[in-house]
Amino acid sequence: MAYSAPNVFANNTPLSATAVKGNDDALRIYLHEGVAGADLLSAAWVQTRHIQQPVIDAFSGVQHGVTGYQGSQWDGGALVRCQFGSAFLTGKRYGNTDTESWEVVPQTTFSVDLRRQATIIFHWWMESANGPDNGDRSLGSDAHMWVTEYSASSLLAGTGVKSIIQPYSQEVVQSYNGWQANNPPGGPATPYSILGWGNMSGVKVFTGTDKLAVGLVHLSTIDRSAIVNWGISLEVYYL
């Protein structure tokens, strides 16, 4: 019920402190416990900035607001963060379908502390120089580096098992057409071409409800891949 002042004043009558205080007290009570839904403006007025100030993690570049998270990282800026992939990390010089063989691409992981169920959209891209390489493989002459996203549903120690869906992965091929058996790189006479340059881009859309980590992993049969440009971005929307 709307506020109604208990005391009404009239001209040429004494003004008492009791009457003014009575109105103030009634108003205080009304504002604390008497406001009814019908007293409120019908149109929604609350904006997210009224509820909670965003929290920004300067190192990871992740911002947590009311409706979710956002953030991005890239190879440049204050730090030079070129990355690499290598068969020497992922264990085998030929294809392996064991998800435990995938290794994280350093610095490409976001950690977010979800408070409720949310839709997560993780974007990434990278440009890499792959090889040259002529190592021992079982799948023919070409070696590849596969990259895909991973997520771990909990950040608690010992519980963060990576979730990887291998068919979603993307690959780049090594630089091989400049390689000569028993006579490695021949210089300008046998130039490397753009074949060893790989440009990949991906998006992972999934849901989460708890603390999680999301980032990039790779599996490689190339001895070395230099990831010279890369970027990751995160959108999280609470459901």
Binding site: A5, A10, A44, W45, H50, T67, P167, Q170, E171, S193
Partner: protein, 308 residues
């Protein structure tokens, strides 16, 4: 603007009944209190729109769940004659793989946004002999290099031939039998823009990604624009093309599904007549039963988001 914005009484001003009564009566109104007057979570919560900005999301596996380029793989044919072949991405059994938004589809109202992303592992396979389709008579993009040893000239290519992958949707029914190019994208047009060629307008490829099939290299030392050895065709190997599409609607519609289709081979073409459009047209001289795009698996993801 709130009605309760009365200025305070300053020293020296006369206080009469109208000032006092009006001050209190400001609060004796309904439908007037807003964020300028009071902040309280009890008021805030009923006014929070608790509907997520994400209305729908979906992910689908494209092709076959195969990472290592071993069977099963899927072939997408090159077009040898008009009309061109447009093939939906499918698994090796021939079952199309796409985003199915269910019986009710994804209803969109004005201002809603549809965002789609996809990636797919592919390699352009040239099984024809010799593997030099750019030498076929009438092939687009040909030019000639002289041989350094005064031998025969070499016909090479500008390397602009490409496959095209683009998005189609069904906005008719959940029967998913009415696939058409998404908004901003066109399906191939026979005699595009009045030319004698089939193909696409470049300005209507909003959901298209081109896939380069091969390159032509010389292992010799070029000198004065001349080469010393026969050129060789080199496929690009397996790699992962990708695409992104974003659509904001200004009308109500329902999207029942989104799929990726592949067609080729095409080559850029400038239409000198009419409005002088830049086109991407089919080069049927490149068509061959042994020249196809080979694909493994990939992914297509989509979200629909509301305006506010």
């Amino acid at each position: 603007m709130s009605r309760i914005v009365r200025a305070p009484v300053d020293a020296g001003e006369v206080i009469d009944d109208s000032v006092l009564n009006a001050t209190y009566n400001d609060y004796a109104q309904t439908g007037a209190i807003d964020e300028n007057n009071v902040r309280d979570q009890a008021f805030d919560l009923p006014h929070l729109n608790n509907v997520s900005i994400v209305k729908f999301s979906a992910v689908a596996l494209l092709g076959d769940a195969n990472m290592l380029h071993t069977a099963p793989l899927v072939q997408y044919p090159s077009s040898t004659a008009s009309p061109p072949i447009v093939t939906s991405v499918s698994n090796a059994a021939g079952t199309p793989t796409f985003l199915n938004f269910g019986p009710g589809g994804w209803p969109m109202v004005g201002g809603d946004v549809l965002r789609v992303w996809w990636n797919l592992g592919v390699v352009s396979f040239i099984g024809m002999a010799p593997p030099t389709p750019y030498l076929n008579p009438g092939a687009m993009g040909q030019y000639t290099l002289e041989d350094r040893a005064a031998g025969p000239s070499h016909i090479v290519t500008d390397g602009f031939h490409c496959w095209l992958a683009y998005l189609q949707w069904d906005i008719t029914s959940n029967a998913l039998t009415n696939w058409v190019a998404v908004s901003g994208q066109m399906d191939p047009e026979l005699g595009v823009k009045g030319t004698a060629k089939d193909g696409f307008e470049l300005e209507r490829l909003a959901a298209g990604t081109v896939v380069s099939p091969y390159q032509v290299t010389s292992d010799g030392n070029a000198r004065n624009g001349k080469v010393s050895t026969t050129l060789s065709t080199q496929a690009h190997g397996w790699y992962a093309p990708y695409g992104m599409y974003c659509f904001t609607t200004n009308i109500a519609l329902t999207v029942f599904g989104v799929r990726l289709v592949i067609t080729g081979l095409l080559h850029p073409f400038f239409n000198p007549a009419g409005n002088q459009e830049n086109l991407l047209v089919y080069d049927y001289t490149q068509g061959d039963a042994l020249y196809f795009l080979l694909a493994r698996g990939g992914r297509m993801s989509a979200v629909q988001m509301r305006r506010s």
